[in-house]
């Protein structure tokens, strides 16, 4: 190995010194997510009627390789239906500790109700806080359980630590808006 090789290597190092860094100082700065990134689930609604798309069929739970999903169905009250049709999900829970974000639930869903979104900041202190229920995942809810808890405590809106490449969520994430 000669001096030339060492000089070449140092040249690369020196060259990088004058480039713009690719790292962002998360969480002060927002990370930019790649289009294929998949984070926590969103339960979408039908536009217009605002009824939940989820019909409580439990196929996501059947498809889930990590057994992370639990669904209990019930019959819709015809006067005030939760979803179109006879059946809706009375209980819909995903254990985010078990979830491996493989997207099989999304693939199994016959109505496109459960879609993997982009949020990923779910770190929390107690295991039981990782079980996300319907009210934590329905479209319109921004932020994870700890983020919303923190926002309530501070009296500020939820601040998400990411931005999307292109700015708009995927088409499947109907009605989802990330601030």
């Amino acid at each position: 190995m000669g001096v030339l090789e060492i000089a070449k290597g140092m040249g690369v190092t020196l060259g990088k010194l004058f480039q713009k860094p690719v790292t962002v100082s998360y969480p002060e700065q927002r990370a930019t997510l790649q289009p294929r990134f998949r984070g926590r689930h969103i339960l979408t609604r039908h536009p217009g009627t605002n009824l939940e798309k989820c019909i409580g069929c439990s196929l996501c739970a059947a498809a889930c390789p990590a057994y992370a999903i639990y669904v209990e169905a019930a019959e819709n009250d015809p006067a005030a239906p939760v979803s179109p049709g006879e059946r809706y999900a009375k209980v819909y829970e995903i254990n985010m500790l078990r979830c491996i974000f493989c997207g099989m639930c999304e693939e199994a869903c016959p109505t496109g109700a459960v879609v993997l979104g982009n949020e990923f900041e779910m770190a929390d202190y107690r295991s039981r806080d990782f079980v996300y229920a319907k009210e934590d995942m329905l479209v319109g809810v921004t932020g994870s359980i700890p983020q919303r808890r923190e926002a309530t405590r501070l009296g500020k809106p939820v601040r998400l630590g990411f931005q999307l490449d292109g700015g708009q969520p995927r088409a499947e994430l109907e009605g989802v808006k990330y601030p």
Binding site: C57, S58, A73, A74, E75, P81
Partner: protein, 723 residues
């Protein structure tokens, strides 16, 4: 008879249907309308096969093809595929299924496409999804895609036929199983097809289904058109923990499968046991289960100084029992148990009673006479005369009523093959001729009354005496029926056995030997036959459960007499019953759905119980509870668990219940114990078997009474419709 299926030669008895020939050769044919215990109909046209037979010349020799020694009988094929469920296999017949025939595969896929034309494909919301014959066969035999580009038929969805059965007319594929079931099995003409062609739908004429056996149509419906309303939307079929066990609501002991999810009992479906219930169970057995998951006792309760029952641990309960029974002679402790306890539990209780020298031992309900069964349920179904004395079978043993009705329509039991019960037994016919003159009912009016050719209104209690010495023309006719029959069966119910004594048993034995009749005396409790073999009756100087108030102190397991013993009372029950509310210590019990054990049914068949996965907290069965009681009393427990109780049972009555198989085995105990008993009126449905879940009750009310319109999918006008 030799039949060739896809080139495989099988030897079959004459009269076998082609579909059974295929299955016994190890082949498969899809079918929707055929059912093991119903007449073959050929409605769904899915079981198409190509078939052909050799033909004979006028001189009796076969028409041959080929030359010289290589000549074989020529097979004359039917020009089109045939429905195998209604075709009889004949000597030398050749059958080709979809496995070897392109024509059949195409015909079946085409039929599947027709069947699916108007099917709504709402599998995700359908409770049948995952256990649906249509789903499975469409996957196996269908094209996989629909070419039908028009609006599907719209019809009534979620239309409650009764409190328990809900109908979706869109999903119906017109297999007619439910219609045939009601006509052939309980003999009620309630459901039928209305309209023709694509507009055909299933409905009742005047609304409502007769209670009794209506739930069976939810089992046999091959699609999700008829569904169990109690289990509606409680879980998907793959989510349930299926436990095959035995129903212990009545002494028939039907085979059932208990489906639990998340520790809750959500659904019960019928199991198949050819010797007992075939494939049918009663509505009480199917729908009367909500109590198992509602308002259960999950911890022991101990009465505190203020007189209130407060939750406690088992150790605290044992201490409380020990303190409460301090100074009481052990022999004075009453031990009472419900007659649906298993044989193992009974053996443990009898052994503890022996160890304590206890006198006040009893099980309830029971009759004061024990009449060993000599007839089996199959004997009932194949009898040529049945006389029912003082029984209301709808309350005492509903499925026995079905077996009697089976006798009336000829007593034909479907043949059995290596692949199970015949799928299509061609001897079973639609609208079978019934022989009501073979059935005599003596006693009060009951549901069976309408089917009987001989009806004698009588006071059940002296019915037997009057039959032995007939005093009226009606009774003489019944006696003549008994005398003239070759295989008569006598069935005695609670009215005939109430207050009966040894003389009645002797009279019955005499009558049975004179007429050659076999006898079934319906036991008072689900396992009364088995418990009678154990010494669980009041012993010398002892009091029965009917005189509970005079017993100084008592341990009462799963009985609800509504009163307490004279002194300290320990109640072991699944719910906070009236008796439990009066007790000093309440111990939580498990239901029979959660037990492992053995019971003996009314024909003397030992049947196994298996524990379903139901959440019941710290509840314990009687064997383990007796261990706790023995600890509180300071004596050695005779059995600490199921295995020990089985050993006890082996020692006391010489039967090894560890080897009892799923279908059960007939067994006669050498010795039985009887004692005078208080009269008891059997009742199948108890108050707590109805759901107390307010939501559920209101939902049923809404479905039955309220108008049901959903804000989605309005019935669009159908192109080409004539309405």
């Amino acid at each position: 008879m030799k039949v060739h299926v896809d080139g495989i030669e099988v030897e079959l008895p004459a009269g076998t249907s082609a579909i059974d020939a295929v299955f016994s050769a190890g082949g498969d044919v899809p079918y929707f309308c055929a059912h093991k215990y119903l007449s073959p109909l050929g409605a769904c046209r899915m079981c198409l096969v190509e078939s052909g037979s050799p033909r004979k010349n006028p001189d009796g020799s076969f028409v041959m093809e080929g030359e010289g020694d290589a000549a074989t009988p020529k097979i004359f094929w039917f020009p089109k595929p045939m429905a195998s469920c209604t075709m009889q296999a004949t000597e030398g017949m050749h059958i080709r299924t979809a496995k070897t025939s392109e024509v059949v595969a195409k015909a079946q896929a085409g039929m599947m496409e027709f069947t699916l034309l108007n099917h709504p494909l709402d599998c995700p919301t359908c409770d049948k999804g995952g256990a649906c014959e249509l789903q499975d066969r469409a996957f196996e035999y269908g094209y996989g895609a629909s070419r039908f580009g028009f609006d599907r038929r719209h019809a009534e969805k979620h239309y409650p036929l009764s409190d328990f059965v809900i109908l979706d007319q869109e999903r119906c594929i017109h297999c007619k199983r439910c219609v045939r079931y009601f006509e052939e099995v309980p003999g009620q003409e309630v459901l039928d097809f209305i309209e023709r062609g694509g507009h055909t739908f299933i409905d009742t004429e005047e609304g409502g289904l007769p209670t009794g056996f209506s739930g069976n149509i939810t089992d046999i419906c091959p699609v999700g058109a008829l569904l169990d309303n109690v289990a509606r939307f409680r879980g998907r079929n793959w989510e349930y923990d299926h436990t095959p066990t035995t129903c212990t609501l009545c002494p028939v002991g039907c085979s059932i499968t208990v489906d639990a999810r998340n520790g809750r009992l959500e659904r019960i479906v019928a199991g198949e046991n050819r010797d007992v219930n075939e494939a049918w169970i009663c509505d009480a057995g199917r729908f009367g289960h909500p109590f198992a998951s509602e308002e259960r006792l999950t911890t022991p309760l101990v009465r505190n100084e203020d007189g209130a029952l407060i939750p406690a641990t088992w150790d605290e309960a044992i201490t409380a029992i020990n303190r409460g029974l301090l100074g009481l002679p052990l022999a004075d402790l009453g031990l009472f148990v419900g007659a649906d306890a298993t044989l193992e539990e009974g053996a443990a209780l009898a052994a503890l009673a022996d160890a304590l020298n206890a006198r006040h031992v009893d099980h309830f309900p029971r009759h004061s006479v024990f009449i060993a069964p000599t007839a089996t349920l199959t004997d009932v179904a194949t009898a040529d005369a049945v006389v029912v004395l003082g029984a209301d079978l709808g309350e005492e043993a509903p499925v026995l009523e079905l077996r009697i009705l089976e006798m009336l329509r000829g007593g034909l039991l479907p043949a059995e093959f290596a692949h199970g019960t015949a799928i299509a037994d061609l001897r079973l016919v639609e609208r079978p001729a019934r022989r009501p003159e073979r059935l005599a009912v003596i006693g009060g009016e009951s549901r069976l009354w309408g089917h009987a050719g001989h009806r004698v209104s009588a006071n059940g209690e002296n019915a037997l005496t009057r039959l032995a010495h007939p005093d009226t023309d009606d009774l003489k006719a019944v006696r003549a029926l008994l005398d003239g029959a070759e295989r008569p069966v006598l069935i005695l119910g609670a009215d005939a056995l109430r207050g009966a004594s040894g003389s009645a048993a002797a009279l019955l034995a005499d009558l049975a030997s004179r007429t050659g009749a076999k006898v079934i005396a319906i036991p008072a409790g689900p396992n009364s036959n088995g418990l009678a073999a154990l010494n669980l009756v009041p012993r010398t100087g002892g009091l029965g459960v009917d005189r509970l108030g005079e017993v100084p102190a008592a341990f009462i397991s799963r009985l609800d007499p509504g009163m307490r013993a004279g002194g300290f009372t320990v109640v072991h029950d699944t719910h906070l019953t009236a008796t439990a509310q009066l007790a000093d210590v309440v111990l939580p019990a498990v239901t029979n759905y959660e037990k492992r054990g053995t019971v003996q049914n009314l024909e003397g068949r030992l049947l196994p119980l298996n524990p379903a996965a139901i959440q019941s907290g710290e509840a314990a069965d009687l064997i383990r509870t007796l261990t706790a009681l023995a600890e509180a009393l300071g004596v050695k427990a005779p059995a600490r668990g199921q295995r020990g109780a089985q050993t006890l049972l082996m020692g006391s009555v010489g039967v090894n219940t560890a080897t009892v198989q799923v279908g059960g085995a007939l067994h006669t105990f050498a010795r039985t114990f009887v004692a005078p008993a208080a009269p008891h009126t059997p009742k199948l449905w108890t108050e707590r078997m109805r759901s107390r879940d307010r939501d559920w009750v209101e939902r049923i009310h809404d479905l039955v009474e309220g108008g049901w319109t959903l804000p989605v999918a309005p019935a669009a006008p159908q192109p080409g419709g004539d309405d």
